[in-house]
């Protein structure tokens, strides 16, 4: 048998590209290549671990991507293949690809881990997306902290002349909405402030950066795509369910002393993934899945349900960006919810009337329920009506996310709310649990 060159992967008989290295055997796929915390994997180490990106030709990989069933791990869980195809077919002009690592969710850390430690896996995915949709330009949209690692990685690839497209870094603002796709386009084109825009019926997939079809894809989705390109759709589907295949990066808060990023099998109950027994569950008051744009689920439901996007939605939540926060029993859940809703109100772009007015009223109602329940007119029952006033009425989905957070909290903490309304607020609650960035803007300071 002829020695196989490391510089070009082979093409198997069925026409699909294959990797020169065996796939990772277990549930650690993306993180199987992760090194010491903080240290980025060099290009040599990356090629050693994963082999080069197989030379897929455009449409062929789109078929493989469709077969894989990969869904977007940035928050929306939209089918990745469908998204790439709609960009590829959008028009005559050359599209633009954005690797989105802006991760505005305060509790989320998985994009940071990926982009800082496995920049080449993310860049492989971005380059693969560019060749698949016919783009000549990739932007890597990340926070300042990731710039050194990404700059080094781009430089390493440039020296080897690895990629057929240009790759540039765009620094994301420190805002909750920084990663929202129309806001990403605003940042790239230098619009000030870099807020979401109204696109009507013409999504940025058709008309984004400079009027070009624009693919904004979360860095984790791109990293999964880079592995699918090497090991195939069939391998990808060996883990997970038909609708939610593969693994997912979770940022777990409240399970261990420090928040941890773990890679979990989709379709497996969270209790099993996190090693939590029914006894352990007693010290957990409720579970926030999907971050501040996600939703609360009762502990019993959360630990038992198979971790899939479909199951999460049945409970009024979403896997979203993969945050799993286990709320300890000693904190006041309603004051946690109120703090987060006030933060989210302040993080609104301040552009759309229903969101500006509605979130202010909603934040005020949640603040009353948490700290001054006797002031809340109409009781807890009045709050879902306020949610209905903001849902579906913004240029972006920010108000919908806040409404989901609030509605799910009212369901999971219904008894707690009744206690507040009957006996007053919790006395001397434990220190705040859910993280709020110190840079969060105060009310009114836009």
């Amino acid at each position: 048998m002829a020695p196989r060159s490391l510089s070009s992967a082979s093409r198997s008989q069925d026409g699909s590209a294959r990797s020169t290295v065996p796939p990772p055997p277990g549930a650690e796929r993306l993180l199987a290549g992760v090194g010491a915390p903080g240290a980025a994997m060099s290009l040599d180490a990356h090629l050693d671990r994963w082999g080069p990106l197989p030379p897929w030709k455009g449409a062929a990989f789109l078929d493989e991507l469709d077969r894989s069933g990969l869904r977007g791990h940035g928050g929306a869980w939209f089918p990745v293949g469908t998204k790439w195809r709609s960009v590829e077919r959008a028009g005559m002009r050359s599209p633009v690809v954005v690797a989105n690592g802006a991760e505005g969710e305060p509790a989320s850390g998985k994009d940071r881990v990926l982009i800082q430690q496995l920049p080449h896996l993310v860049l492989d995915g971005a380059v693969l997306a560019a060749t698949s949709v016919g783009a000549g330009q990739v932007f890597v949209h990340v926070h300042t902290h990731a710039v050194p690692a990404v700059t080094r990685a781009i430089e390493e690839r440039r020296r080897r002349n690895l990629d057929p497209c240009a790759i540039d870094i765009v620094v994301a603002p420190d805002r909750f909405l920084a990663g929202q796709e129309t806001a990403v386009v605003s940042t790239i084109v230098g619009r000030k402030p870099a807020t979401p825009t109204f696109v009507g019926l013409r999504p940025i997939r058709e008309q984004g950066v400079g009027g070009r079809p624009t693919l904004v894809q979360n860095v984790e989705s791109l990293a999964h795509a880079a592995l699918i390109a090497r090991f195939g759709a069939e391998w990808f589907r060996r883990i997970g369910t038909p609708e939610s295949p593969g693994t997912v990066l979770l940022t777990v808060v409240g399970r261990w002393a420090e928040p941890q990023v773990v890679e979990a099998r989709l379709g497996v109950p969270l209790g099993e993934t996190l090693g939590l027994s029914t006894d352990d569950a007693r010290s957990i008051q409720g579970v926030l899945l999907g971050g501040y744009g996600g939703g609360w689920i009762t502990t019993r439901e959360a630990l038992a349900m198979p971790l899939t996007e479909e199951a999460a939605r049945q409970y009024g939540s979403s896997i979203g960006c993969g945050v799993v926060a286990l709320l300890p029993s000693e904190v006041c859940a309603l004051s946690e919810v109120s703090r987060v809703v006030s933060y989210l109100e302040g993080e609104g772009a301040g552009q759309c009337g229903p969101c500006v007015n509605g979130l202010a009223v909603l934040a005020n109602a949640m603040e009353q329920l948490a700290f001054r329940p006797s002031a809340l007119r109409g009781g807890a029952a009045a709050i879902p009506t306020l949610c209905g006033l903001v849902e579906g009425r913004g240029a972006c989905r920010h108000p919908d996310g806040v409404a989901r957070f609030v509605r799910s909290a009212l369901r999971v903490y219904e008894d707690h709310a009744a206690l507040h309304l009957k006996r007053g607020p919790c006395r001397s609650p434990a220190p705040p649990f859910l993280p709020i960035p110190r840079t969060a803007r105060r009310k009114g300071a836009r």
Binding site: F198, G200, L201, G353, P354, N357, L389, G394
Partner: protein, 71 residues
């Protein structure tokens, strides 16, 4: 050939709640507590198309658009 279908879409960034649209098309548009329009989703029935068109062109902020839906 099938006749084209239309819907009303408001640009919530441009809209500042003049309320003209709700006056011209109360069948499909009501106002929220802040005077901002809540538009009933979906296709505009044929008999209301003229009124919808008038509501769209009368918006002082040009925030309301009658858009053709995909066939």
């Amino acid at each position: 050939m099938k006749r084209p279908r239309f819907a009303l879409v408001v640009n919530p960034i441009a809209c500042d709640g003049h309320g003209v649209c709700a006056e011209l098309l109360p069948e499909r548009i009501r106002l929220d507590p802040w005077g901002l329009p809540i538009i009933e989703a979906g296709e505009i029935p044929v008999e209301l198309l003229d009124h919808a068109q008038r509501a769209a062109v009368s918006c002082p902020r040009l925030a309301l658009t009658l858009v053709k839906l995909a066939p």
